[in-house]
């Protein structure tokens, strides 16, 4: 019986090796297979013999070969390891790492999203003879061991909403959150409130969670991972991966594959290697804090010693967060020193994980600063030393000036002004009452103003300059003598449009159906804001190639030559009817408006500028394809980074406005764009988490052609209005006057 069990285990190990190497190292695998078959044959044919020695030899051979193959693991092999049904999953961790747990928010398939598992658990620790149960909220993705209903750990929007709800609960109860990332990515279904929108909400919330958060990565797939991983400490399993996109997805983009086509194994391997997605890579980039060394060829449920390692490191991480937040006394320095000693059994020590309310803001600030410090050197900054010094000095001066003007002077001025306004109002009422008898007598004898009468009773005059063209900036396409057909011509009977009319006077809008043709980003820049009021900053910050991704340098250069820009983001200050704003534009023609480290840094700088100057912040997504995949985690880390900056800005009393145009997808929508309280779209724009091809490739579902249309996003509650391009200036002005922000300079 025991022998049969051992044989079964060896067979499973062999199958596992065969699976994770995807057809490679056949000689080694055949050797193991033949030896195993030979041994099995001997058992079946030779009775009454002791096979213990043979079994030990065979097991030794397996250990030897596994150790040999461990050194030959490629990044793509790691991807296959984390996706394997034999890989440890969150339920294994709950069983083996925590002393007790109760699954909440559903059970197995009886939950709104089985891909997300929530549990209340505790860890028992001892100090002397006394034991303490330390409660935690465990949130994570559950892949199961190949259970179909788990959807491979791809959380749906309502799964992420469930996670968000229990983050709130943890915050109310003041217990730490342990987050486990086992996801290939978020499920791209655009149901309420939208896949990207929900991820954005999660990231925004986690940026300000006032309890310690520890995240452990096994499979960190892009936006789906970011929804649960904005943590004070980020640990990663040594055979895991953390990437902006799956290698297959990257291969489909790099190979320019059409729907239904499959990338070659070689291209996928190359993409996995180029994306630098392993734990070692991410540790060197600084996006994770620590790597937990797994057993040879990856952790499986029978590696009980490894669960002890996870337990110790999770406890250590939580202890460290708490102690670092509480500050450094002699006593705490000793505790920290003991913690860092890996020989210490942390089950026999006790550190209270409860943080007093007074320290919670420090915890949040530490977390935010940690993320804002990341990926600083991942782009090219061609600004001169003198320019940088000058900017730093201006920023400091602006900080001092704002504190003086807004925090000191305006506070007292406001008190005085309020008193004066009340007194004036009272005086006006008395004056009106006193004048009333005289005024009615005057009205009876005064002459009627014929001009006013004519204005009120005749039709409006149509001789305004802007009735025929009159735009401050006109597309060069308006100079072409040709006509174009509206895409709705078949259904709406639209007439062909002559381009000099369409791109000038009509502002790219079909006169029959109102379809908005895409316009250049300059159109909005120069027609929405006051003439000559634009002042660009940080234009020297340049998109780079932090991963040395093949051919990216040339592609960036081509984009720079094509657009005349250094990166896919333009940041500037501008005025609308003399209201000053900070504006950032994601430029679609520059690598599809994708966001990388340079764009992220520019956005953060612009947000910080708006916060310091108390200006409203407008991000205009002229178009974005998502995070720039060739920058790997340098790109995906911009999602939490920029969202943190946005959160700081909004909490400081700013007004953050997002306007979508053309096509906006991916990480930006699922983070800093999607988290805005005020989001609007220009008519005929499309927005969502993943485009139709990605949805088809990942879920097999065909989506309707208008699935991502702005009106669908409006119906879902993602955006709050659809604007006509020709009214953009008026609508933005209206938004500035009516929405958000207690600390805006003009309030």
């Amino acid at each position: 019986m025991e022998l049969a069990k051992n044989l079964q285990q060896l067979t499973e190990r062999l199958n596992y090796i065969r699976d994770i190497f995807g057809g490679k190292h056949q000689d080694d695998i055949n050797l193991l297979s033949s030896r195993l078959e030979e041994f099995r044959h001997n058992i079946e044919t030779q009775a009454n013999i002791n096979f213990d020695e043979g079994l030990t030899t065979l097991e030794d051979l397996f250990f030897f070969m596994e150790a040999k193959l461990e050194n030959k693991l490629t990044p793509m092999d790691n991807v296959r390891i984390v996706r394997h049904p034999q890989r440890i999953c969150l339920r294994d961790i709950l069983e083996n790492v925590y002393d007790n747990y109760t699954e909440i928010g559903g059970q197995d398939e009886h939950t709104n999203d089985p891909a997300v598992l929530i549990a209340r658990a505790y860890i028992t620790r001892k100090r002397g003879k006394k034991s303490y149960n330390q409660s935690v909220m465990v949130i994570g993705h559950e892949k199961g061991h190949g259970e179909e209903f788990r959807n491979g750990g791809s959380a749906k929007p309502w799964g992420n909403a469930k996670a968000l709800h229990y983050m709130h609960v943890a915050e109310i109860e003041g217990i730490p959150i342990h987050s486990y990332i086992f996801t290939p990515g978020g499920d791209p279904v655009e149901d309420y409130p939208g896949a990207g929108q929900q991820i954005a909400k999660n990231i925004y919330k986690m940026a300000g969670l006032s309890v310690p958060v520890v995240a452990l990565f096994s499979e960190g797939g892009s936006g789906g991972a970011e929804a649960l991983s904005l943590a004070d400490k980020r640990l990663m399993l040594s055979h895991g991966y953390y990437s902006v996109i799956s290698p297959e997805g990257a291969a489909a983009i790099e190979g320019r594959l059409k729907r239904g086509e499959r990338a070659s194994a070689e291209l996928i391997e190359n993409c996995a290697a180029n994306l630098k997605l392993t734990a070692k890579d991410n540790l060197s980039f600084g996006y994770i804090d620590q790597v937990l060394q797994e057993p040879t060829l990856g952790a499986r449920p029978y590696h009980f010693d490894f669960f002890r390692t996870i337990r110790q490191e999770i406890i250590r991480a939580t202890d460290e967060i708490v102690l670092n937040t509480k500050g450094f006394s002699l006593f705490r320095i000793n505790q920290l020193r003991r913690l860092r000693d890996t020989e210490t059994n942390l089950d026999d020590t006790y550190i209270n994980w409860h943080l007093p309310k007074s320290l919670r803001s420090d915890l949040v600030e530490n977390r935010q600063n940690k993320f804002l410090r990341m990926s600083k050197g991942s782009f090219i900054n061609r600004q001169s030393m003198l320019g940088a010094l000058s900017d730093a000095w201006t920023e400091q001066w602006r900080e001092v000036y704002n504190r003086l003007v807004y925090d000191f002077f305006h506070r007292y001025r406001r008190t005085y002004t309020n008193f004066l306004e009340e007194a004036t109002a009272e005086w006006e009422t008395i004056k009106t009452r006193a004048k009333k008898p005289f005024k009615s007598a005057y009205n009876k004898v005064r002459r009627i103003d014929t001009t006013a009468q004519q204005e009120l009773t005749s039709l409006s005059k149509w001789d305004r300059a802007d009735e025929r063209g009159g735009w401050n900036w006109v597309s060069t396409r308006a100079k072409e003598d040709k006509s174009v057909t509206c895409p709705n011509a078949k259904t709406h009977g639209c007439l062909d449009l002559w381009t000099p009319d369409l791109y000038n006077e009509f502002a790219g809008v079909c006169t029959t159906c109102g379809h908005h043709f895409s316009m250049e980003y300059q159109w909005l820049m120069y027609n929405c804001f006051d003439v000559n009021s634009l002042y660009e900053f940080n234009s020297e910050w340049e998109a780079g190639n932090p991963l040395d991704f093949p051919t990216l340098d040339q592609r960036i250069k081509d984009a720079q030559e094509k657009t005349g820009l250094k990166s896919g983001c333009i940041t500037f200050e501008a005025r609308i009817d003399n209201i000053k704003n900070v504006v950032a534009v994601l430029v679609a023609p520059f690598r599809g408006g994708s966001v990388g480290a340079a764009e992220g840094a520019k956005l953060i700088s612009a947000i910080d500028r708006a916060r310091r100057k108390r200006y409203p912040l407008i991000i205009y997504s002229h178009g974005t394809a998502g995070i720039r995949i060739q920058e790997g985690t340098h790109g995906v880390i911009q999602m939490p980074r920029v969202t943190i900056a946005i959160r700081r800005y909004i909490r400081a009393g700013g007004l953050y406005l997002v306007v979508y145009d053309t096509h906006s997808f991916g990480g930006p929508v699922a983070s800093f764009l999607g988290c805005a309280h005020y989001q609007f779209a220009i008519r005929s724009s499309n927005l969502g988490f993943a485009g139709p091809t990605v949805i088809k490739n990942t879920t097999g579902i065909d989506v309707a052609p208008d699935h991502h249309n702005c009106y669908k996003a409006l119906s879902r509650g993602h955006i709050h209005g659809v604007w006509d391009r020709r009214d953009i200036r008026m609508n933005v002005k209206q938004a500035l006057l009516t929405m958000g922000g207690r600390n805006l300079y003009y309030r």
Binding site: K482, S483, T485, D496
Partner: protein, 216 residues
């Protein structure tokens, strides 16, 4: 009395329809790499998002516009004389032969054999409650309608009024509308079959389903 068998025989003689493909407007016409006899497809996909086969491109004011096949079939005639030349609006540029499917043949037969009772206005239509009840129990082919019978309820802007059937007495052979869906004015609601012709029609229909060879 209508001879439905002879109608079927007529359809069998010419089991196709020839569609004339015409220039939508003036312009310079360029045929794609396509020849007479080539098969073409109409638009397809769940939302008709995949366009039909491109037959030609017509360019007016530097605006190239594709002319696509609207039905499945093959190109019976292609007026190559217009290739690379200026054409007037409405000029026939190709003839597309579309072979009738079983459903299309049945549809043609029923349109000719049945008395169609049309919707008087655009509205939602429901059967009167007693008719609806019978319909659910025994199926529509067992319901006999007579002239002046209150058969429908017309629902428009949340106001409901009864609608009487006017026409020859017979059985409801076909129901052309769906509940909760608006029906345009003039579109058929039901097809009525005289009781004595029911077996003949059913026989011909079943012959169509068994014998009709759909051609590609």
């Amino acid at each position: 009395m209508l001879n439905i068998s002879s109608i079927l025989e007529e359809i069998k003689k010419t089991p196709y329809t020839d569609l004339s493909v015409r220039a939508p407007h003036t312009g310079t016409l360029v045929f794609t790499d396509i020849n007479e006899g080539d098969s073409v497809n109409s638009s397809s996909g769940q939302w008709q998002e995949i366009p039909g086969t491109k037959i030609a491109t017509i360019t007016r004011e530097k605006n190239p516009k594709p002319i696509l096949a609207t039905q499945k079939g093959f190109l019976q005639k292609l007026h190559m004389k217009y290739n690379n030349s200026f054409v007037e609006a409405g000029v026939e540029i190709a003839v597309l032969r579309h072979f009738l499917s079983k459903q299309e043949v049945v549809h043609i037969l029923l349109q000719k054999a049945l008395h169609l009772f049309n919707a008087p206005e655009r509205a939602k239509y429901y059967f009167a409650p007693d008719i609806d009840k019978k319909l659910k129990i025994s199926g529509h082919k067992n319901i006999t309608v007579t002239d002046g019978m209150d058969l429908f309820i017309v629902s428009r802007m949340k106001r409901e009024i009864p609608l009487a059937y006017h026409g020859p007495e017979g059985l409801i052979y076909e129901v052309y509308f769906e509940q909760n869906q608006n029906v345009d004015a003039g579109k058929p609601l039901i097809g009525i079959c005289p009781p004595d012709q029911l077996s003949i029609i059913e026989d011909v229909i079943s012959r169509v389903y068994h014998e009709w060879q759909e051609q590609e």
